[in-house]
């Protein structure tokens, strides 16, 4: 520790070089933090683990096919099931089809939806009661309600796409939850419209199981029940349901991890190059230090610490820039694109922070290793003889 001042001064010996090297570490770390946060956001469970008691039943051929409503009663009778709500993805167009106007639109059974199934959401009991009583009413995630500035009593029109009907809905109030990108309206209201699945089909079933340990049993029981029917099912936990969209995007994880790894390797080389350059220029100085009594191990640790210190500085700056500048910027832009739904959990989490610091220290150690060993091995005589 008493040498900290020496190391610190050596880091700042050549300002341009130090700024450039730290700069490249900052840029790479910013990029890695952003990419990792994006990946984590996509994989994150919006309910924060509270949804582990919930199951989603979809058609075994995927979401493209709908399920018969007659299955509801049979699912409800399975022991351990608390409540079942049919849900249909309306997928309509609000205002126009620009991505910033995208909203998740789901029909649900208001009588049980917030009370028994989606119970990690917070909703004002008055709002909930009024929603139940209003046939054409809808509730919206607080985030999107704020975004569009909806006030109680406002009407919105959703133009149907694959369900060929338009919905005229009236805003009741907001709910708060991990995922606030959806609006919910009555199943019954959707079924007043004349569409091919009227009173007959539903997109999926959303259900709650009383005990966590019953989840696998209930899921298996549902799938077995309809295995040989016209509409075989695939029952997924909330997390699996999310992951299936991730899988559809292809190997995003491999792509992002691959990019991160390669650019980390590249920045390690940049830092190693800098440290080596600066060590090479100081051969004489190092020889003098050795004659003064500093040991080889001292020299080794000096050079190594310089490298680590530089990387760590870059790492800290990088994380700060990612967290406070770039991610808010990307969020602002991303809201307007078709991937806005993926950005719900786009933020720097503690594990990402820890990862970023570990990585920057790692880069410092790896980069400083070879130059540090080389410098510590120089013979005093050679070092003093050399003219740089």
């Amino acid at each position: 520790m008493k040498y900290l001042n020496l190391i610190w001064r050596n880091v700042f010996r050549k300002k341009t070089r130090m700024v450039l090297t730290t700069g490249s570490i900052v840029l790479v770390l910013v990029l890695i933090v952003v990419l990792t946060s994006l990946l984590r956001a996509m994989e994150a469970d919006p309910s924060g683990g509270k949804g582990s008691n919930r199951l989603i039943v979809q058609h075994s051929t995927g979401l493209g096919n709908l399920l018969p409503l007659s299955q509801r009663q049979r699912i409800e009778q399975i022991p351990g099931v608390v409540a079942v709500s049919p849900e249909t993805w309306f997928g309509g167009v609000y205002k126009d089809d620009r991505p910033e106007n995208w909203i998740g639109q789901l029909s649900a059974d208001p009588d049980i939806y917030f009370d028994k199934i989606f119970d990690d959401a917070t909703i004002d009991p008055k709002v909930n009661a009024e929603w139940k009583a209003t046939r054409n009413g809808f509730v919206a995630g607080k985030k999107i309600a704020d975004k569009f500035g909806w006030k109680k009593g406002d009407h919105i029109i959703l133009r149907g796409t694959y369900i060929p009907t338009n919905l005229d809905l009236v805003y009741i109030g907001p709910y708060s939850a991990g995922d606030e990108s959806n609006v919910f309206f009555h199943n019954e209201y959707l079924n007043e419209a004349n569409w091919f699945g009227k009173n007959r089909l539903t997109g999926l079933y959303y259900l709650k199981v009383a005990n966590g340990e019953d989840v696998p049993r209930v899921a298996a029981a549902i799938d077995r029940m309809f295995e040989n029917s016209d509409a075989p099912t695939k029952t997924l936990t909330e997390k699996q349901f999310q992951l299936q969209f991730m899988e559809m995007m292809g190997n995003v994880k491999l792509l992002i991890n691959g990019i991160s790894l390669i650019i980390l390797f590249a920045v390690t080389l940049i830092v190693a190059n800098t440290v080596a350059m600066s060590a090479r220029e100081r051969v004489t100085e190092i020889a003098v230090m050795r004659t003064l009594g500093f040991r080889r191990s001292h020299i080794l640790s000096f050079i190594l610490s310089e490298s680590v210190l530089m990387s760590l500085l870059g790492g800290i700056l990088g994380v700060l820039i990612a967290k406070f500048v770039l991610i808010p910027m990307l969020l602002a832009v991303g809201e307007k694109t078709s991937i806005s739904a993926w950005l719900i959990n786009f933020r720097v989490t503690v594990p990402t922070l820890v990862m970023a610091f570990t990585v920057s220290v790692g880069v410092g150690v790896l980069a400083g290793f070879v130059p540090a060993i080389n410098s510590s091995r120089i013979k005093i005589v050679d070092g003093l003889r050399q003219v740089v």
Partner: protein, 391 residues
């Protein structure tokens, strides 16, 4: 007078390790940039290739994708009698009412799965898409629940080899043929007979009606006719326009490519700048000598910028080689990503194209320019006396 390039070239070899590392870094950065760009290009190419301006998709008004459109049997029959539709040599109209559905299928690795688009069509629909050729097996027959799939698809998904039964939920098909769709979006689809699919799907409607017209002008007239027909409430879109609109699927990857490219490029040019600064300070006396024998400040500036460009161009070439190696060893199989419009997987190939190679080299030269300019300016500003005094 300009300083000979040979001077710079030889100087790069003097500090082999430092030069080598910088070239390697630039190479890695260019390779990352090229891979992401190739991904963008792969997706957009798939959606743009061989889409014709003569073929028209007829959809329900406001539908962004065939999946969202519903066309009744009556509407499909009315379309058949519209003017301006081309006829085949044996006199049948080139009209194919088609039904689209999505099924989730396991990929070849057995662990992950994705949505695949199934297209039920009139057998004439195959003839209407000349880019599609059956390369193995035969065409499907009506009434026998047979299907043909693209060769790429059969490589990417499990149970899709020729002769294998394909099951998903209550759907059953036998794969009787493999086709090649010249890299177009049809490479991502399973094709079967529309009537068979309607029966299995238990819905007597279509998603779209695919129509061929004699030329682009006739296509526009057909689109106008459909638009003007109040009974139909449908709209026409040329095949080209329909797939162009789906290109927003590439947008998130484009944004990713842009951010990754920008950040790594600046980072790597900082590395190059460091190397060049070190070169300048190590060669201060040389620079003084060059000035003393008559080379102007401008030639010194030019010389160092050129040296930096050479350094980075070498990196760029290395990057192109890296990318080619990655493509030819790891990414030989077709890759897929989600098409946000159709909600199904779109298959594409990573490919090295001449514009991509040029792009990579320009990218590396940009890094060279950025990394070389400031060190070169420092070198050009040196005073002869001070430079010569330096040890």
């Amino acid at each position: 007078m300009a300083i000979p390039l040979k001077y710079n070239f030889r100087n790069l070899f003097v500090r082999r390790v430092s030069t080598g590392m910088t070239v390697f870094v630039i190479g890695l950065v260019v390779a990352v940039f090229l891979c992401v760009l190739a991904l963008v290009q792969g997706v957009t190419r798939t959606l743009s290739v061989t889409a014709s301006t003569r073929n028209v998709l007829t959809l329900r008004v406001g539908s962004q994708a065939e999946m969202q459109s519903v066309i009744t049997r009556d509407q499909a029959d009315q379309i058949k009698s519209l003017p301006g539709i081309e006829r085949s040599p044996d006199g049948r109209p080139y009209v194919s009412p088609e039904i689209i559905t999505l099924i989730s299928l396991p990929r070849e690795d057995g662990k992950t799965s994705s949505n695949v688009q199934v297209r039920g069509m009139d057998p004439i629909g195959v003839e209407m898409r000349p880019s599609v050729k059956i390369v193995d097996g035969r065409m499907f027959q009506t009434g026998s629940n047979e299907a043909i799939v693209s060769r790429n698809l059969s490589k990417r998904y499990a149970n899709m080899k020729l002769g294998q039964p394909l099951k998903s939920g209550s759907f059953r098909w036998i794969i009787v043929g493999l086709f090649d769709a010249s890299g177009s979006a049809y490479e991502s689809e399973i094709w079967t007979d529309a009537k068979d699919l309607q029966q299995q799907f238990k819905r007597q409607v279509f998603s779209s009606v695919f129509v061929r017209t004699p030329d682009a002008a006739a296509a526009n007239r057909y689109i106008e006719t459909v638009k003007g027909d109040q009974r139909l409430k449908l709209e026409g879109k040329t095949e080209r326009k329909y797939y162009d609109e789906q290109m927003i699927t590439g947008d998130p990857i484009k944004a990713l490519a842009f951010i990754v490219g920008l950040f790594t490029a600046i980072g790597a040019s900082f590395g190059a700048m460091n190397t060049m600064y070190a070169q300048v300070s190590a060669r201060t006396r040389e620079i003084g000598t060059l000035r003393a024998i008559g080379f102007s400040r401008r030639s010194i500036l030019l010389s160092f910028v050129l040296e930096s460009l050479m350094l980075c161009l070498a990196g760029g070439l290395l990057g192109v080689v890296f990318t080619q190696l990655v493509f030819s060893t790891f990414l030989t199989k077709p890759t897929g990503t989600m098409n946000f419009r159709t909600f199904s997987e779109v298959l594409f190939n990573f490919r090295m194209t001449p514009p991509l190679i040029v792009g990579g080299l320009v990218f590396s030269l940009a890094m060279g320019l950025l990394g070389g300019f400031f060190p070169a300016a420092r070198a050009a500003r040196l005073k002869i006396i001070n430079a010569l005094r330096e040890i």
